[in-house]
């Protein structure tokens, strides 16, 4: 089979695209989280961080374009595979005790991912869009804390927390699943992969949650 055909046509190839883009998105999450954690160092540090990013705009733009492509591939093939898999199973069982043999998260990746997608669009149309059009350099921190789109708004904080819990669920299955898809699971290492995967799906959402809880619920920051 030609390489192109194996990757884009075969079932395993499409899964490899999912796993590659999924892990790249995970890498992005790590970087994004580290950036956001600067909020804990106070307004000056955070504003300086955002300003520094806007000084290297062309680089940021290039990364944003690559990131959008990664998202598009992940979502496109995720939806395509989901549709194909549904048509492979046209008739459902009258009774199916799927809970006895697989986890809830593993069976609902598309639904979880789709809700994450809605979050993503909302997230971009608020923070990202407003940051783009913000020229007062001392104001970024205030936007994050404010009650327009920031953690000053209890609805925003609640939705944010729900989205992060869903992200945890998506990663709980997705992160370790990607290693299986790459064929990187051997009896010898499966314990190691499981441990790393568990740390990952717990730490990343908890990191984001800590920000929402501290600034939005506990009321730190001011």
């Amino acid at each position: 089979m030609s390489l192109l055909k194996s990757v884009f046509i075969s079932s395993i190839g499409k899964k490899i695209l999912m796993a590659t883009t999924g892990l790249l998105l995970c890498l992005f999450l790590v970087i994004h989280l580290i950036g956001n954690l600067i909020l804990f160092s106070g307004p000056d540090a955070f504003n300086l961080y955002v300003e520094t990013l806007s000084r290297v705009k062309p680089i940021v733009r290039a990364i944003e374009i690559i990131l959008s492509l990664i998202f598009l591939i992940h979502i496109f093939f995720g939806s395509k595979l989901t549709l194909e898999n549904r048509s492979a199973t046209p008739q459902k069982y009258n009774i199916n005790s799927a809970g006895e043999n697989s986890s809830f998260f593993s069976r609902n990746m598309f639904i979880g991912g789709s809700i994450l997608f809605i979050f993503l669009i909302t997230h971009l149309s608020t923070f990202w869009y407003i940051f783009q059009n913000q020229h007062d350099e001392g104001n970024f921190y205030n936007i994050v804390m404010g009650n327009a789109v920031g953690f000053g708004n209890p609805i925003i904080t609640t939705l944010y927390c729900i989205a992060m819990i869903l992200l945890g669920f998506h990663l709980r299955h997705g992160f370790q699943s990607a290693f299986q898809t790459f064929g990187l699971r051997y009896n010898k290492y499966s314990g190691l992969i499981e441990t790393v995967a568990m740390l990952f799906w717990l730490i990343i959402p908890l990191g984001f949650l800590s920000i929402a809880v501290w600034f939005g619920i506990v009321g730190g920051g001011y």
Partner: protein, 245 residues
Amino acid sequence: MRVTLKIWRQKEADSPGFFERHPVEKVSEDMSFFEMLDMLNDQLVLAGKTPIAFDHDCREGICGTCGLFINGRAHGPLTGITTCQLHMRSFKDGETIVVEPWRAKAFPVIKDLIVDRISFDRIMEAGGYVSINTGGTPDANEIPIPKANADEAMDAAACIGCGACVATCKNSSAMLFVSAKVSQLALLPQGQPEREIRVSNMVTQMDKEGFGSCTNTGACEVECPKEISIIHIARLNREFIKSSF
């Protein structure tokens, strides 16, 4: 004991199917599930009705012919056994037992509980063999094979092609079956010459048959009567990636 069966009936491939209720009296808990079905079929025949069609052959868990979806589980509520190895003691007195055929686009129903698994045969034809004349039985240890490889190949070779993995998979994916067939040969010296073409052809055929893709839910390894591990699916992926370059 007494049980009520809610069982799938379908006259032929194209006719619409439906559930039929059959109370079965005087069931011994030492009966196998199939003996209970045999008893019910005898009664149906005596009453002038069509008996329920279901696949079976060896009735000792080695041929892979049988397979029913019982109360929402492939091969019934226990793990590590085929339907023919299931006994009535696994059910409660008075219980209603729902019996359905394997459901997958690639396994169409032929009649009642019998499905057509010829798609598996076509995947095997695409590469699940070694095309050399093996001759007579060679001396043991003539070809040295590491113990670990021999063990893993043997585990994979335990697959009896029953299709429970497909039946239980939410995507009707045949990856566990194909991975077992690819693994058993990829691990042994005899499988090496055709190693790459085999995985490529078998995966192509698998996709062509209309099986879904694997989302690593792991349901298959739980329901597989031979407890084939999804470690073999990881190897299949690896073999496929290597064969693509």
